[in-house]
Symmetry: C2
Subunit: 417 residues, 2 copies
Amino acid sequence: MEKLFASIVTIGDELLIGQVIDTNSAFIGQELNKIGVTVKAKHAIGDEWKDIWNTLNEASKESSIVLITGGLGPTADDITKPLLCEYFGGKMILHQPTLEWVTYLFEEIFKRPMIERNRKQAEVPDCCTVLKNEKGTAPGMMFEKDGKLFFSMPGVPSEMKNLMIQVLQIIQQKFKTPAIEHRTLLTMGLGESFLAEHIKNFEENLPPNVKLAYLPNYGLVRLRLTGHGENKTQLVQQLDDLFQVLKSQLNHVLVADEDIPIEAAIGKVLLEKKKTMCTAESCTGGYIAHKLTEIPGSSQYYFGTIVSYDNSIKQNVLKVKQETLEKFGAVSEETAKEMAVNALKLMSTDYCVAVSGIMGPTGGTVEKPVGLVWIAATSKEGKIETKQFNFRFERRRNIEMTATNALNFLRKFIIEN
Amino acid sequence: MEKLFASIVTIGDELLIGQVIDTNSAFIGQELNKIGVTVKAKHAIGDEWKDIWNTLNEASKESSIVLITGGLGPTADDITKPLLCEYFGGKMILHQPTLEWVTYLFEEIFKRPMIERNRKQAEVPDCCTVLKNEKGTAPGMMFEKDGKLFFSMPGVPSEMKNLMIQVLQIIQQKFKTPAIEHRTLLTMGLGESFLAEHIKNFEENLPPNVKLAYLPNYGLVRLRLTGHGENKTQLVQQLDDLFQVLKSQLNHVLVADEDIPIEAAIGKVLLEKKKTMCTAESCTGGYIAHKLTEIPGSSQYYFGTIVSYDNSIKQNVLKVKQETLEKFGAVSEETAKEMAVNALKLMSTDYCVAVSGIMGPTGGTVEKPVGLVWIAATSKEGKIETKQFNFRFERRRNIEMTATNALNFLRKFIIEN
């Protein structure tokens, strides 16, 4: 079966000058992929009439489906709606159901007076099918031209995500989509090139309909198998078989055999063992807690953290001995140990991991350079393990590396203890 | 002066299927902007020979500068280097200085044996200028064709960022860049359409070389003035004057008169007043602490947090009375107050903000629905203020909205107290 291609067009100067990071098109890519649509390209352009026009031409040449986000707000810099009206040869009309919806939102939900700009949100080209925006005032729109489908959605992520439910349904009604399957392995401990060397034979012998990709991310490497086929059942079987082989070859560095972040992987281990954990953070400033609590349901196993960003908190709340801080310093094996042991006691969990390090750009010395991190894991039974890391990267990257390594260190500690 | 345009091309299937969010092109956009280069478009494409080739053609048609990231790794799915070699009509040669650099990295820094794949990183097309990658093994490359410049950089953010220093220098040597100026105002309290209505007159009377953009983000709205011109001094003066007018019209919702996040805005207030703060978080799970500590130097005013994700931590560490929890519940004005007051005492700071809420998707009830949040701010002098919020969004958005509103609530509390 021929692949069904989609192109994503994101509109807004803020994307080009980098004031906003585009997370929308990643979400759209994921969702399209799940229903067997291959994203051919993503194009980001500014609020310029000619650029938008040309990009729509290009996108419809390369793909059967074009998804557009952004440029639908109530302000003067948003030109997408009049442009789409002209592009598809329509004229603007007031869409009564949308007007009623916008009015309802202002009267009942926002409880604010509606102004002319808001009313304008209900105007749409007469050549489009309106897709109701359950999460906001700017309606989604669908256009058809020469057998190709165009969808226009607002750039606000929650509104776009909700509209995508309708968009995906329409795509599946209008096109026959091929089978597509992914299998993802999360590994930690081997760099990309060493992984590649280790599974060289496996990779070279992959069938032509299956691709292997390496996705390194802060010390972790995701390995993703992607297969295309006509017969879903056969494809699932083929991918499952290949995935088993891959897993068995990488068992020593395996973190998870599904596409989940490491904070979810540790959660699964805790849920299985019916155990709980807490953290004691210094240099990561709450980032480990944030990652853990991003996972819905994490309250079942994650109790909390004490972030001792200032040393006084290490002493006064975490009860690290003044002597330890004076003799070994805040970034030391001894301090990390006391942080872990005392935090576990304070929060009464089964496990605890503590981190103390220097993230940069300043704060490093010759003996303790930027990137030095001590991690300590402990259990209610009193077992304790520590590890030193030397990251030598930038602040942002050091924080990520510390969090990822702390979570993996504790994950292994839990499995072994 | 004519605008100088650049196009950004990012290569990798992981971007198209949404497994990785592209932060590189936002960074590149920001940096180009600072030196007066306008980003015309960004294109993301997969590891497909024909797509990369066609996109290079397109990008060089629309822009004088093409920046390419990704596809330079040591694994088989990376095809960018051989493609560039053919595209620019060269042949692959071993680049001795790069080989020496890669060898040094493996021997002295990574302390791992080097394998053939790593050695291959030192091969480059003979028609390129090699840009040394100080942060990794894959070299940057520059190509010139028909008066246009092409730069190829690895996709690893730290490596790309470091290479961009050289890239920007070369662009400034090879092209005369126009003056470009931005002024950004951070506001909170008025939605996009109400802001637009409020400054309608100002916006309509902007000179043709100045644009105004609205950038809403979790309850905050950034207003950005962008001006182009030939004379830098005149442009600076023009933008400064317009910015003064804009500021005076929006004084009542002003958070900061520069492009900084709210966590930096609160830091500035604390530094000015020489005061310190801490936090007590429940539903945000450490996210507020993380945001605050992302700012380098935040240890001067931010001491730490206690995240009481489980109610036992509210009782045992934050000493919230059992009676309060039983009578009013964890998500209540009373609990938030006790959290703030007790955390401030435990951590001995001048100010504290506490949050307790229900982020969803589960955990809501009829009386306390998902999105309900209580925020309490307190000072060492014993002043205390609380506020209830009802966000009704998704989990991720609720966490963001809670953090942003808590920081702004405390910021205003600090200014007034």
